[in-house]
Amino acid sequence: MAKLILSMDGLVLKEIPLVKERTTIGRKPHNDIQIDNLAVSGEHAVIVTIMNDSFLEDLGSTNGTMVNGSSVKKHFLQGNDVIELGKYKLKYLAEVGQPVGTSAADFEKTMVLRPSTMKTAAEQARAMAPASTAPSAEGTHPQPKPAAAEAMRAVAAQQVASAAISAGTASRPESMATASVPQAAKAAQPLGAIQILSGGNAGKELELIKPLTTLGKPGTQVAVLTRRPHGYYITHVEGAQHPTVNGQSIGSSPHALKDHDVIEIAGVKMEFFLKS
């Protein structure tokens, strides 16, 4: 059984098992989870639980509902998601040892759709689950063989997707962290830049916005500055001469750059610095 842990300022207040199909959250006393705080709307949100899957829906609350730091209207809850309503936090714990997990990792594992097993699984799913509960289809099957399980999981995933597409209202699982991780990392990292110190372009400044910036003369000597989540690196690309940082040759492996390092590539000196 999945459950929610209600806490405020790190203090655990309550543990709520998700037994009902609809678990309502709000300030008014008729809610299943009553949170008596003015930041919480009278009817704030609802969690719809179908078999092993829970979906969170904001009921048009004044201050909104956040999941893992981003505001949501509808959300397919994943294990360890943190729902925030004002100062209160609700941690969602999926059932442990459930036969078919739908964690992000499961969805990323490459699997094959087999037309033969798919068909029977799809028919079963259709027979057992009405359209509105399609996302839960996988939970309704016994789980015998891994092959069949794969196909069924595939069917369920497909139904989740197609339900979302056709209805437009179904709780489509939010995209996984894939897209947001790099952006978050980039935002947190200070922007680096290069100022040219010698040669014809002396004084020019170049912001290192792209993940890769090449410097030097193709055919003679080229180095690349890579922007990574934890900082900037310089790497030798081509040419007999290797670039130097503060007068020291960097060799052929990547070299981490520090604020105000002086780089020399193809006879041109430049200074690396971090913009705040």
Binding site: K109, M111, V112, L113, R228
Partner: protein
Amino acid sequence: MDLSHVLEIASSTDPGMVRSHNEDAVATDAAHGIAVLADGMGGYNAGEVAAGMATTVITAELARALRDVQPYEIDPKTDRPTAERLLREQVLSANASIYQAAQSQPQYAGMGTTLVTCLFYDNRVMVAHLGDSRLYRLRGEQFEQLTRDHSLLQEQIDSGLLTAEQAKTAQHKNLVTRALGIDLGIEPEIHEHACKPGDIYLLCSDGLCDMVSDEDIGMALQALGANLNLAAQQLVQMANDNGGRDNVSVILVRVLREYPAARGVMAKFLAWLK
């Protein structure tokens, strides 16, 4: 014809930041112009076994078959270059081997692998693929995907259910509709592309293209094309920096110069002398 002085090849494979196993496998043979990449699936270490079987079997068998026939010769039965028949035969035979292993040994039940295989010959490349491992090409400034995934996602895009934009954040990226070793009746998709000197071909598993945008991959190849090994490492690193949620594998092949097949008696004789 020995292509080792015509093709520069670099590869890199990495388990990524999340997985403990590397179920990807790569194999290359510059002399015969072969590059094979596979992304295995199946419990325990079965995915590794399937991918490893696919890459080693196909590389070795293709190289052996090339000793007896010329890939550019037109096959009278199909009216297509022999290379196409060779690729199909080898893919099907690897499929049968993996399928048999999966059937006969319970610990390998259900194993399979995606595949992308390139055979370079006569200023051309013949590519066979199954599943969502891809082939890209960088030609000048233009970076494009040459293969189309056999995946649920791609089918949904094709049928207009999803836009390319929605597909980027879709949850079921991982479901492939064709794979090696799952069934005896598979059909690899095979296409031929003309090569030009300076082209860089990228074979990669979905661990790269799911984590790094095509734009960034193209940019990295353009920037680091001069140093293929570095470019391969950089691509893996970019995938890992972005989360590395899956195994990441890349093979890079650069065409250094033209490599027309030695046709005619005299040319063949000279080639034989070498």
